[in-house]
């Protein structure tokens, strides 16, 4: 029993440490992305280079996922399993360049794309 508790303590500690260490404040307001059945609205399409927080609101009737693609569809960030009527937040550090934000209602296909410029 003692060893079980000990191992558990280690496991618990690791999980919480992983969350605590890697989380930090991504300053400023989150940039809103609205993922609907046929739309993908991004509140700001020109950003300064640096760390940004995005908040996705799924207004469609299917689960959705949102990708941030760099040139050549290289995945920079992705948030999947956003249920209908729910929101999800993710943060990502963006270097200057051109990107595309893709909303994928139904979690398949290449999605509805919006250009994003980071300077």
């Amino acid at each position: 029993m003692k060893s079980a508790l000990l191992s558990l303590g280690i496991g618990l500690g690791l999980t919480l440490a992983a969350t605590a260490c890697s989380s930090d404040d991504a300053g400023g307001e989150a940039i809103a992305i609205t993922s609907g059945t046929t739309e993908c609205r991004v509140a700001q399409t020109a950003l300064a280079a640096g760390k940004h927080r995005f908040q996705v609101q799924n207004t469609g009737n299917q689960a959705t996922e949102v990708y941030v693609y760099a040139a050549g569809d290289k995945v920079v960030a992705e948030k999947e399993n956003i249920g209908p009527g729910t929101k999800a937040t993710f943060s990502v550090t963006l270097a200057a360049g051109t990107y595309e934000i893709a909303c994928k209602p139904g979690q398949t296909g290449s999605g509805i794309r919006q250009p994003l410029t980071v300077s």
Partner: protein
Amino acid sequence: MLANYLIGLREGLEAALVVSILVAYLVRSGRQDRLRPIWLGVSGAVGASLLAGAVLTFTSRSMSFRAQELFGGLMSVLAVCFVTWMVFWMRRASRHLKGDLQQKLDTALAMGTGALALTAFVAVAREGLETALFIWTAVQATGDTAAPVAGAFLGLVTAIVLGYLLYKRSVKLNLATFFRWTGAGLVVVAAGVLAYGFHDLQEAGWLTAGGLDRVVLDATGVLPPSSWWGTLFKGLFSISASPTRLELGAWLAYLVPTMVLFLRPAPRGGGPAPAPPAPAVHRPSSTSETVTS
């Protein structure tokens, strides 16, 4: 509602499978007294996930995309190590089940208690953080409508009920059949978890071989993620319907040798019980890279 239900079901299904097999195994070997560490592991993981998820949802803290994928990926690899250890540990211990070697079984169980608790912990915690984030954001959305949280919650409950039914069914099976089927089932689940973990590590930028856009085959046409059958497939086998080359490579590189080792006939004769080793640190990456690159 349905979409949220399916997300809850999928996230919960795999953990429910692993835990119900662990519990069935201990009940079958008459060691109900060893169930407490399992429940400790499960509740510890649920608690830690809910806590970490709440911190990330209700404070301005946020986990970067890479950190989140890295956490998911490493937890998956860890889960595969533990489940693999558990399968072979069950296989070894089952040889002493005949009764005359009860004492050796007891020794094996005593040494495995900590690892059993950790196996249950890791199995639940792997998807736990993501599920907790999903649940908390659904709770946040209840200002507008309670449907998302109700759907997600019902999905998780269904996963637990399915786990319970599996337990009920498997304790009735003949002992040899029970070991063979649950063990083989766990190996398939672990292979899927490994592939999924490699996908996360690819997204975190840790593994660059292949690339995320290199999808070998795309079965999302027959297994759409928004359908209930696509959900069950993903929940049971964990493997994505559109795997990358590295994912598929890792899946095969793990599944084939592990299954062969597991199904090989047990050596006859009652030699001394081998002590259960600490969970072996598998380095699946080295084998799979030769396959995929």
